[in-house]
């Protein structure tokens, strides 16, 4: 399954099976993407096309470049080379259809903003520089908070929420963007069980309504329960496909270098799941 980057069609995306003629264009197609911090490439010539209307997990060992892949696909980190297209068009034209939920951190939790203010930031594209925030905007922001079960905390300063609650507020901000593609970086890392359930329920609802979800995920045991498809990587792309076929022992060995998983419990879970 390992991509042979020397073949003539080097940048052909990895998709399990030939896509049918009527398959909708991929919401995120990455071609020959290479990103490097210093001398070693974090993402090495990765090509992949994510399936529309699916919930895909990006998995791989620590330092496999999963977060970097998301960030460079979104233009947050500049790649050395490679192209990214969304629904067959350049990213810049499609930004309004994409919502990104970063991994925790990189935020000043003391910032003077309430949960509601954070969600309203998701509507920037509508509000622009000067349009006033009116009742319909507020109502939509509140309904986004309600979808993640946070409507009672709208007035709370974000630093005064628990880690899981903060994560849910940021998911609500993404919902407020009204996007078609949701990209999440480890949305379930370090959150409580209630938050994990709430987040998964919201993500499944997004997919049920026709949206696409791509999430970096670290817990192999929960991959089959939560996701439709997986993309395995370890700096280079290894495989992309439905969980039933791509989430195989062979691919996991390729990704994790034979030791399967960093975490024995997860590894056992993965084996059981197969």
């Amino acid at each position: 399954m390992k991509i042979d980057s020397t073949r003539p069609k080097a940048h052909a995306p990895v998709v399990a099976g030939m896509p049918a003629a009527d398959t909708p264009p991929s919401p995120l197609e990455i071609n020959g993407l290479t990103v490097s911090y210093g001398d070693t490439p974090a993402v090495n010539d990765v090509s992949v096309a994510f399936r529309s209307g699916a919930m895909t997990a990006i998995i791989g060992p620590n330092g496999a470049g999963k977060s970097t892949l998301l960030k460079s696909a979104l233009g947050i980190v500049a790649p050395l080379s490679g192209q990214v297209t969304c629904w067959g068009r350049p990213l810049a034209r499609q930004r309004h259809r994409i919502a990104y939920v970063p991994q925790r951190a990189a935020i000043d939790w003391e910032f003077p903003a309430r949960a509601l203010d954070v969600v309203l930031m998701g509507m920037y594209r509508e509000l622009g520089l000067l349009r006033r925030v009116r009742a319909p905007h507020l109502a939509r922001a509140m309904s986004c908070l309600a979808r993640v079960g946070m409507e009672d905390f709208a007035d709370r300063q974000i630093g005064r929420l628990s880690g899981g609650q903060q994560q849910r507020v940021f998911l609500a901000r993404a919902l407020a963007q009204g996007a078609d593609l949701y990209m999440l970086d480890e949305p379930l890392a370090g959150v409580d069980a209630a938050t994990e359930r709430a987040i998964i329920a919201v993500l499944k609802q997004i997919v049920a309504e026709g949206g696409t979800v791509i999430a970096v995920h670290h817990d192999l045991a929960t991959v089959p329960g939560y996701f439709d498809r997986v993309f395995l990587m370890n700096a280079h792309a290894i495989a992309e496909g439905p969980v039933a076929t791509a989430f195989s022992r062979e691919n996991l060995d390729l990704a994790y270098g034979g030791r399967l998983a960093p975490d024995p419990a997860g590894a056992a879970g993965a084996r059981d799941a197969l």
Binding site: T34, S36, D39, A78, L80, S81, E110
Partner: protein
């Protein structure tokens, strides 16, 4: 622009003066100042390493500006006690006291409020400096026309430095240097990884306070020669420059002391060669020259070395960005 350099001596004579100055042949006073500045530079360079490693370089800026009200108060107190008011030890003691209060202020604001250290530094720096300026105007009215000359502490002034002044500076500098060297292990640990240091049973807060206290001592000692606005340069620039040349703390310490010493020595010697060449700025500019050289030419971490490595690696996309 010609007028700018009008005072510069014809080249030959200047060169002769410079070599005389560098070899300490410019007379007793200039020699004293030069040796004092060199010692100050060594002590500051070594002390500053721990500030820079602990990412707290600019705390010293707050501390140095916070000396001004202490200088003013000490002057007023000494005049009221019937003294001269300009005695250096008294002024330095006052400077140290108010710098200490400023240092505690920064740490109190950072720990007890949600403000970041940068805000605490800026607040203490500006408010203490403002208070010092108010006190200077109070002193102007007290002395009624007679110059107290406290403004010289802003930029330093080596003119009319007494032998006793130079001795105070040299001795205090040597003392600080000794203390820094004695405490270098715990200070390295605390600066590099505070959590690990705590796990090792070290009192990190006290060690950090000691490091800052030593930096404060340097600030106070340096007031006379470099002045309170520029003294932080001696604490920051040599360590940053030294860091380029080595990854080992003991080497960085030695190099930083060397760079600081060269800057102090060279700056003081240069300034003795002509009027209108203030000591403090010259010391800072020399230190910066060493920094610039290190930034460009240091092996491994320098810009040139990085560029060459990148070219040699020949990564396909290396030129792409």
């Amino acid at each position: 622009m010609a007028g700018v350099w009008r005072r510069t001596r014809p080249g030959q004579r200047a060169r002769a003066m410079l070599s005389e100055a560098l070899f300490l042949q410019l007379g007793y006073n200039a020699t004293l100042v030069t040796i004092g500045a060199a010692l100050l530079g060594v002590a500051a360079g070594v002390t500053g390493v721990f500030l820079v490693l602990g990412k707290r370089a600019l705390v010293s800026d707050a501390v140095s500006h916070a000396t001004l009200p202490g200088i003013g108060l000490a002057f007023i107190a000494m005049v009221m006690a019937g003294g001269d008011g300009r005695a250096l030890p008294g002024l330095l003691l006052g400077a140290a006291a108010s710098a200490g209060v400023g240092l505690l202020g920064v740490s109190w604001l950072t720990r007890r409020t949600r403000l970041g250290e940068d805000a605490a530094i800026g607040a203490v720096l500006s408010v203490f400096f403002g208070a010092g300026v108010v006190l200077l105007t109070v002193i102007q009215t007290m002395t009624a026309g007679r110059q107290a000359g406290l403004e010289t502490f802003l930029l330093g002034s080596t003119a009319g430095m007494l032998r006793s002044d130079a001795l105070v500076i040299a001795l205090a500098g040597a003392l600080v240097l000794g203390l820094v060297l004695a405490l270098r292990r715990p200070m390295t640990l605390a600066a590099f990884d505070p959590d690990f240091a705590i796990a090792q049973g070290l009192n990190v807060r006290r060690i950090e306070l000691a490091a800052m206290g030593l930096a404060m001592a340097i600030t106070v000692i340096g007031l006379k020669i470099v002045g309170l606005i520029l003294i932080v340069a001696l604490l920051i620039i040599p360590p940053v420059a030294a860091r380029f040349w080595s990854d080992r703390v003991d080497h960085v310490l030695a190099l930083s002391g060397l760079f600081g010493g060269i800057s102090g020595y060279g700056g003081a010697a240069l300034s003795a060669t002509a009027p209108g060449l203030p000591t403090g700025p010259l010391i800072v500019l020399l230190a910066f020259a060493i920094f610039a050289l290190s930034l460009l030419a240091a092996p491994r971490r320098g810009v040139l070395a990085t560029l060459m490595r990148r070219r040699r690696a020949g990564a396909p996309g290396a030129g792409g960005r």
